[in-house]
Symmetry: C2
Subunit: 401 residues, 2 copies
Amino acid sequence: MVKSNPHLTKLQSNYLFPEVMKRKRAFLEENPHANLISLSIGDTTEPIPKPITDAMLRASQSLSKRESYAGYGPEQGSLDLRLKISEHFYRNKITADEIFISDGAKCDIGRLQMFFGPDVTVALQDPAYPVYLDGSVIAGQTGSFDLKANSYENLYLLPCNEKNNFFPDLASSPKTDLIYFCSPHNPTGYAATYDQLKQLVAFAKENQSIIIFDSAYAFYIQDPNLPRSIYEIPGAEDVAIEVGSFSKMAGFTGVRLGWTIIPQNLKFEEGQSVKALWNRFISTIYNGASNIAEQGGLACFTSEGKKEISKTISYYIENTRILKQAIDQKFETFMDINAPYIFAKCGPRSSWDYFNELLEKAHLITVPGSGFGKQGEHFLRFSCFGSRSDIELAANRLLNL
Amino acid sequence: MVKSNPHLTKLQSNYLFPEVMKRKRAFLEENPHANLISLSIGDTTEPIPKPITDAMLRASQSLSKRESYAGYGPEQGSLDLRLKISEHFYRNKITADEIFISDGAKCDIGRLQMFFGPDVTVALQDPAYPVYLDGSVIAGQTGSFDLKANSYENLYLLPCNEKNNFFPDLASSPKTDLIYFCSPHNPTGYAATYDQLKQLVAFAKENQSIIIFDSAYAFYIQDPNLPRSIYEIPGAEDVAIEVGSFSKMAGFTGVRLGWTIIPQNLKFEEGQSVKALWNRFISTIYNGASNIAEQGGLACFTSEGKKEISKTISYYIENTRILKQAIDQKFETFMDINAPYIFAKCGPRSSWDYFNELLEKAHLITVPGSGFGKQGEHFLRFSCFGSRSDIELAANRLLNL
């Protein structure tokens, strides 16, 4: 009989969000009339601006007419969209041929893991978005789970906590092939400074590592001095891949659209272009994002689209301010708002304890920080997506806790 | 420095369709006014029926309103759509929880390869759709490319040719973990009979293999006695995964929508449910198809949608008839029409020779059969997607060759 994939079966059970949902369901079974508010999974709740949905509407219509029907698009994505991303997000410093359109950041991170294969070593921030770790395990890039150590063998963690102001101590960090780095950071909400990213790029150069930079929350940065892309750092194009997303930028969580930058300069040890091999890879096992989603993506770059997107992001940022004011009364937070998440240190007990307490006493669903890594223990992550009324109600419940 | 993925770099260059496109471009450079007709990549050309695009239009609109906006859907896909697929394609024999919605068959085949991991052995039809082989190589399921043998080590091929009526001789076939099987078959167009699939299922049971059955062209079957799904064979749910697609059924090649069936009964050697592990896997590295595409998919099951889809398929089948009449005057074909492809034996010279000849003399772009495997040598694949006028012109050019 067929044996299961030995890498896949290394994965420990209880993927974070399913466990959160399980506890939510169990609570609702016992308390069917509870008005739960979800500050849990980072899912957008505000509608997509009309100029953007209108573009998707027109894209749908155009598929019903012979003269405008189109079948397969290029696996790399629509050239128009790649040009707009190049111009608007990278001031043409990253060119269209270095941009690959995807069906979202999570999916492309999974593809990157398959692309790099089993022989690379991996470092990631602790805490971190679970997909970096879980996908690395599936791709065979780690050893087995060590129950005693409560960690995977051959996995290198970069602790981010209040002691180092949520930026890893690179001087004591290991040398690995890949370094996942997310800024603004999920779950802590920390946005790295220009100098910190400069250090990170220098660290990667010194160690001949490749950074996989997740910029999914770049549009939430409020401080104009903070970099929104790793490529704002000179030389980053020699060492970094960047993964971007329309999900949190324009409410495309269900529409599915993102991009990945593989710079021309990035080379493997053998001298082979990473971009050329990636192009071969995605042409083989991928078929491009939905052409309707791509037309929606294009509309994000019109002046009307940009204005509307900016309004929605401001709305979520205002949510974050409201929630932070309440959380600060009860728990400890550490940073300014540059992301739609608040990472709060709740006290000496376990994250799951505080999760249960907020569920039971305030009917709020959060995410236990420990689910993102050991360094997240004692913390809760509050997602600030949601309607204003829900967020205000959640803030009141926290204040009355 | 980071080493490239040793499995990925085993892949031989010249992926079939890029090479076809290269030769096309080279020809057009020398003959800029040539009116080339593409009978090459199997890409749909007829518009998507309006009831279906209208559903996608409404889905786009609904995303612009707070009351109907939706973010992340389930990774497994919309339950409504899974129920419709269960009812309409599987008469509820396959249940909704065994159906996983994807962004297309090619992408899900890539995910299946990552899912099964490096330790499984693989058999596939020769000739075959290149993704089965290339993806297996990337996943580390084969050895290196052996230049002398002109094949990958540890790859098991099931020859399909005129001698065995394009169905593999299972009595002499090797035992492998996975068996890719496509029916109606790309590129040969052969649709396996009920008895043949019964043999295949028995063969898989005997060898404790898992069949990955690609049914992307099921809707083109004209002979009502031929099975459209592997699950028409009793017991197939113990040994087979089926991959389906809206691409060739409803013109969704650019919209991206498909599904994969992982039956409840399918187990790994350790007794673990394949479905449970697949569910874990896709929840980790995938985020579902576009919700707009899913609404289009749902509209395919309305009575109006079904009627219109059936018209478009009849149109392509009529194309195939017209083209086959012409091809039969020049080359040898072997089977009835149950697919939008014609696989023609052209003579003693190489496939690429005939490809070049048809390009130069008739300005037709085809696909060399040898690109699909050794058994395809001396053959050309003609795709029958295209406007009626192009197909008629192509048929005339063939007759005048």
